[in-house]
Point group: C2
Chain length 304, copies 2
């Protein structure tokens, strides 16, 4: 492939709030064998719930605004970067086509970090077992038996490379997550957001809260739609294959249909009806990820 | 600055092991407002303790082997990427000079993910309070009073941007961390490792365990030195300023001196004695980070 020409790349953080921890015991511990004792006192003030954002600006930029990628629950920005089978992911696909791309790790996930104190992030985080993405993301009915749905697009030989991307997720951090995403949108200015699964919920909520700053949304199998009124912007919803095989996905797809029906400039595309069969929930990193990216790019060119 | 020319970039994962969780209660929860209930059953098998590695290969590569950056405790690979004041960090500095750079997030940190189960990673993780890096990394004696050491190189106006990089760290995951770092060294082949603080301990341990695969080490204020016999490779140790002000750092610096004395091809440089004054523990991202990088590059050219 042709070398990438990048004017600038790196990361920044946005958002965050102060929080306090008190009443914890203090211990003297050794952090590294042979090193002097370390006084581990966790009581005090923390800066929590910031958002890690990495970006890359190509040379030249040929698109009208920054492009933001917001991942789904239990994952990090790594899902946009490289596919499990080692091909360039959507971050690089769109970068090569002149977009200034931004990939974030949601609050309390990945490089955004979490606060390991129930006073700050209540409850125990969820985490994905070896079989969960296979069976929940419509790869197939049984991981243990290695059974995949017919014609599946997931790179099955690299399933464990995908599994390694999964990180714990708290439940009940929505307010922090949305606050940080809004801080991001305010920092980059008018932008397009491509959001997956749980990220789709926050992308809708961000567009509802900052209607002048979100120019278009691409929602990949979103699991929610915010709680406000959508601004008058173009919205593309994409859904993969094998939805009828899983009652939970039937419900989620129906919610997407209802959202599209009440949103004037929304377009809902079922990929199988568009000639792209076999995708599960992780459609941006399955074997036909480039073909799906090209559909998204075409829609953006027509609608932005 | 000149655009970067990059032949290839992305991420991969190495390492990891299977682990089981049993006996946990099962709950029906709602992950996103309005979405169907989710059966949260955490009992089963997990793939844990993998290592996230991002890399960028410049066009052309002009250096003899890959360059690996291993961060310190309570941080992620973000510390090599961009300085808190928004300049290019060492990852990009060395990339621009023809190195194929690799930046990892240590096991259980950042994008490597953790397992939120004490059966797998015992104990509660440590986390850094607002004042901790200021006072523990030799920025100054009091964060609350805003007092920094005279002539300090830390970009104080961006202290909170650095603080946002801090993530929780477990204690007692050394075996997992080293196993994953060894898997990385085996994957990339003969390499140079630049390691900071806790990362220095693992870099020494990796060189001791895989003497044919580590060609040189650059240790930035290492907090440990492995437990085996060092191979016959060049090793550079760098220490910053203001060490005499903190008894813990006096001890750590003395351990570095003893390691250098017993390691035939080790060179220990105190930056103040080299004309670079004012650095704290985070010397790779302080205001004179480019000047320190240039010293490292010069040493590598002379010793590799």
């Amino acid at each position: 492939m042709k070398p990438l020409c990048i004017a600038e790349m790196g990361h920044f953080f946005v958002g965050g709030r102060r929080a306090r921890v008190a009443g914890r015991p203090v211990a003297e511990i050794q952090l590294v064998p042979g090193s002097p004792p370390y006084r581990a006192d966790m009581n005090g003030e923390y800066l929590v719930a910031s958002l890690y954002v990495e970006h890359a600006r190509p040379e030249p930029v040929t698109r009208p605004c920054p492009l933001l990628f917001w991942h789904g629950g239990g994952l990090t920005g790594a899902c946009w970067d490289t596919t499990p089978d080692g091909r360039e992911g959507w971050k690089l696909w769109f970068l090569r086509r002149g977009w200034h791309v931004h990939v974030s790790d949601a609050v309390e996930r990945g490089r955004s970090g979490y606060a390991p104190f129930p006073e700050i992030f209540p409850g125990a985080p969820l985490h994905r077992r070896v079989n969960d993405p296979w069976e929940q993301f419509r790869i197939g009915p049984s991981h243990a038996e290695g059974r995949a749905h017919p014609g599946h697009q997931f790179p099955l030989d690299h399933y464990e490379d995908f599994l390694r991307q999964c990180v714990p997720r708290f439940v009940g951090t929505d307010a922090d997550m949305l606050a940080a995403y809004l801080a991001l949108v305010e920092r980059v200015g008018p932008c397009v957001i491509i959001a997956h699964s749980q990220g789709g919920h926050f992308a809708c909520a961000a567009a509802q809260a900052a209607p002048d700053l979100v120019r278009a949304l691409v929602l990949l199998e979103p699991s929610g739609f915010g709680a406000g009124a959508m601004p008058d912007i173009p919205v593309l919803l994409l859904y993969g294959d094998h939805i009828a095989r899983d009652p939970r996905w039937v419900t989620l797809r129906a919610a997407g249909g209802a959202f599209a029906a009440r949103t004037p400039r929304a377009a809902l595309h079922d990929l199988p009806a568009e000639g792209l069969a076999g995708n599960g929930h992780m459609l941006m990193l399955e074997r036909n990820s480039d073909a799906i990216a090209a559909r998204v790019q075409g829609w953006l060119e027509s609608n932005l």
